[in-house]
């Protein structure tokens, strides 16, 4: 207690720092905590005024409401299990097995992370739908595949979310010292036994973390189930339809809370429980990789799995690309540029608005994220840990919940934001804030704390130290946060769909409209314009990082 008073006294001596902490807290409270709390409150007001538990009673008793909860959990668990299995094999192949063409496989496999969310679902319809090339053209409808529903979603979400699991598992496998495996081999264990007794147990925390991550992503997924779920209702879509279709706000809010609880639990377990149980200390530099030259059959197994996966990604994205140049998918496959003409003509407004809003939100989100990362990892003040947890919260909160929260929180005075561009920007800023925070914290972790202490010791204030020393050193992390925020803002749908209005159009909403009108070729063209922007942004990021990072400057000076 007395210690905290001393901390406060210190902060009081640095008014700018103090003001910054207060300002950050105000923003976090208003734009992260308040909307989520509003969702909870509304779900407890069945008639909109008096408090009661009627909504939850209905949610648990009526089959109509119970089904989405059950379906979402089933889908989430299935996608997580299949996704982690696939990702593990893939990550093991990349980190441990001597395969040629690794960096190429890696790039392809991680692409779904930055691609628009429902491209894979779109591809599934183009391939396996009523007019799908495989179901309709190749097998003339004799193949009884129902792509709308559980199985379709399982395939699509596995392809969409296994990359996240892959990155987690790759990181953990890389950080396991190969010397441990060599020690096991030299003590007489076979490679098979070494894997099960050494490698796998060491990577177990990573496996669980990846599982929880994919589980949450699948639970929170909105774009894919919206166009592919058919009669298989899931929570995110059910909540959306309750609110925008039936105008039953308390029930929509209740469903959103049902969605929030498991994802929050998964996040909490992963972050606060699992992270303490890791055997592997992440040193920041992966230990020197030593590749195994396995038995030919083993190598063949890994090669086939990797090729299958890469092949599936190519098939899906390729189909959408091809589809974007066809007249009418499934009927008339004559090649044409009409779809793109439409995108840049009628769709130009959507494109422009999305670009403007994302471009405004991105730098704000990035700077705020790095600032919070700096405060929580470098400054001591009361509520520091709580600030970090709050700023990372939107990682765990499904977009649907955020969207409903914003809808409920900001449609009355004094904060009447519904229908404005500002509310969309705010959604972008605070939804992708965790990326900046996490990148920042990771980058700061790598920078010796005494570098900043040296600056302060030499008479610079905290503020000056941040801009002169910290910021230049975390530039690469900052730009990659910017890139991610920009891409995610461009491709966002689940949260913003609740706050968009006629005045400000978003490209993802346009894609959704095209799909709903069964104009799949047009949706494909929109998607590829979006993919084009993402790829441009990627090159932009590389260029800008090279331009501004001090590592580059030092490298040039040394050359």
């Amino acid at each position: 207690m007395q210690y905290q008073l001393k901390q406060l006294k210190r902060i009081w001596n640095e008014p700018i720092l103090f003001a910054m902490i207060v300002a950050v807290w105000l923003l976090l409270a208003l734009f992260i905590l308040y909307p989520i709390i509003m969702v909870g409150i509304k779900s407890l007001q069945p008639d909109g005024e008096n408090f009661g538990l009627k909504v939850y009673k209905m949610l648990f008793t009526k089959k109509y409401f119970r089904a989405p909860l059950f379906n979402s959990l089933k889908l989430g668990a299935s996608v997580a299990s299949v996704g982690v299995l696939v990702a593990y094999i893939f990550a093991y192949a990349i980190t441990r097995v001597n395969l040629p063409g690794k960096s190429f496989y890696r790039t392809i496999a991680t692409f779904p992370i930055v691609s628009p969310p429902f491209v894979i679902a779109l591809a599934a319809i183009l391939l396996f739908g009523r007019n799908g090339v495989i179901t309709h053209k190749l097998f003339h409808d004799r193949l009884n595949i129902e792509i709308y529903g559980f199985w379709g979603l399982l395939i699509v979400e596995t392809l969409a979310y296994f990359p996240t699991a892959f990155l987690t598992l790759e990181g953990i496998l890389q950080s396991i010292d190969p010397a441990l495996e060599e020690a096991s081999l030299s003590l007489g264990s076979s490679k098979w036994r070494t894997f099960w007794r050494v490698t796998f147990p060491l990577s177990m925390p990573g496996v669980l973390a990846a599982w929880l991550l994919v589980f949450s992503q699948s639970m929170a997924d909105f774009g894919n189930p919206l166009i592919l779920s058919g009669n298989f209702h899931v929570l995110s879509v059910a909540a959306y339809l309750e609110i925008t279709g039936s105008y039953r706000i308390p029930y929509g809010a209740g469903l959103a809370i049902m969605l929030l609880v498991p994802t929050l639990a998964a996040f909490a377990v992963q972050r606060y429980w699992l992270s303490k149980r890791s055997y592997v200390t992440i040193t920041g530099k992966p230990s020197a990789m030593r590749l195994l030259e396995p038995h030919i059959a083993v190598k063949a197994f890994f090669t086939i799995i990797v090729w299958l996966l890469i092949g599936a990604i190519f098939l899906f994205y390729g189909t959408v690309l091809y589809g974007s140049f066809t007249k009418l998918w499934g009927v008339n496959h004559t090649l044409t540029l009409d779809n793109y003409r439409y995108v840049f003509d009628i769709g130009f407004e959507y494109l422009k608005d999305t670009l403007i809003l994302a471009s405004i939100a991105t730098p704000i989100s990035g700077v705020l994220g790095i600032l919070i990362a700096y405060l929580v990892s470098r400054k001591e003040f009361p509520s520091r840990r709580f600030m970090e947890a709050t700023s990372l919260l939107t990682f765990a909160v499904p977009g649907t919940v955020v969207g409903i929260g914003y809808l409920l929180a900001f449609n009355q005075q004094p904060l009447m934001l519904t229908g404005t561009a500002l509310i969309i920007i705010l959604v972008f800023v605070f939804r992708y804030l965790p990326v900046g925070v996490q990148n920042g914290v990771a980058a700061l972790y790598q920078i010796d704390k005494s570098i900043e202490e040296a600056s302060i010791d030499l008479g610079a204030s905290s503020n000056k130290t941040f801009w002169k020393i910290t910021m230049p050193l975390v530039t690469p992390a900052f730009f990659s946060a910017l890139f991610y925020t920009f891409v995610k803002s461009m491709t966002a749908i689940s949260a913003v769909i609740f706050v968009v209005s006629g005045r400000w159009q978003l490209i993802t909403i346009a894609i959704l409209g095209s799909v709903e009108n069964s104009d799949l070729a047009q949706a494909a063209a929109f998607s590829y314009v979006l993919i084009g922007i993402v790829i441009l942004a990627m090159f932009g990021l590389r260029w800008i990082t090279n331009l501004f990072s001090y590592q580059e400057r030092v490298r040039r000076a040394m050359a």
Partner: protein
Amino acid sequence: MEKNEYYVEVKDLVKEFRDPSGSAVLAVDGVSFGVRKGEMVTLLGPSGCGKTTTLRLIGGFEIPTAGRVYIDGVDVTDYPPNRRPTGMVFQSYALFPHMTVFDNIAYGLRNKRLSQSEVEKKVYEILEIVNLHGLEKRYPGQLSGGQQQRVALARSLVVEPKVLLLDEPLSNLDAKLREQMRVELKKIQKKIGITGIYVTHDQLEAMTLSDRVIVMKDGKIVQMDTPEALYRFPANKFVANFIGKANFIEGRISSVQDNSCEVVLPNGRKARIELRDARKFGVDELVLVVMRPEGIEFSDSKEGLLAGEVITRIYTGAMSSFEVKVEGEIFTVDVQNPNFDELPDVGDKVWLSVDRKAITIVRRE
């Protein structure tokens, strides 16, 4: 003690940390000492003794749980580091990797809003002093460890702090370079005449560089003395062991004078031992007799103090080191400039005589 005798003064400093399990750990436990103007004082101790935390409390990087820090008569305990007249040289150097050597050194001067011409003048002056001129356009990544070390030193010195704080500045250098820098650091410190507090776990560094050494253990000060007094009159077994090498054997005080006392060894022989404060021991008290390995010689006659048997002998060039079993204890005996032919072999029964200046006593703990 006069009121303003000390330029830097630390009073009853306490720093409590919470370890991951949540229980409190006292890193610094009631530390008080003073440093005179122009004096170089070293905090010496094993890792975890609280020496670095003490230094960081003086620099303002940690907030003390209790206690005050005064610099030049001003209570700076509640000041952040940028408002304290201290300059810190970090163990990792903490050079700004995105700035050139010049910009690194100029950083503190620019914070003081000095004009560009003044900044340049001072930077080039200090570059001259630390022997780095010509390297000002390089980045830290292009410098050797020793050069980085000197940039870090220059960067702290150039702002002319009232106290220079050095946190194990040589520990990242290899042995040869460390020796070189130790001498160079001493020269620079004498040239500038700065007041300094130096933290190290290397007793050789402490002895070379400081006017006074403060030995710490478990967050507390064990002994505060000049290097010579510390070596000759260690306060207890810990200090005797930590500063140099020492052999211990039990003894019983048989008589006490003002500046010496007489001890009876287990073999019945008596030794007269010079001490600063012999009166703190009582007659018949059981004590530990401390003998430095380099103060022991093999003697031909049976007139030596102790008898033993040689167990090992190791030749290291400048000296030979022997292990001798004496009264059930293993003694180390170092012989400088050894002439191998005249020295005993493994298995030989030998007599040891001990130089009076290399023998002292401490309390049994």
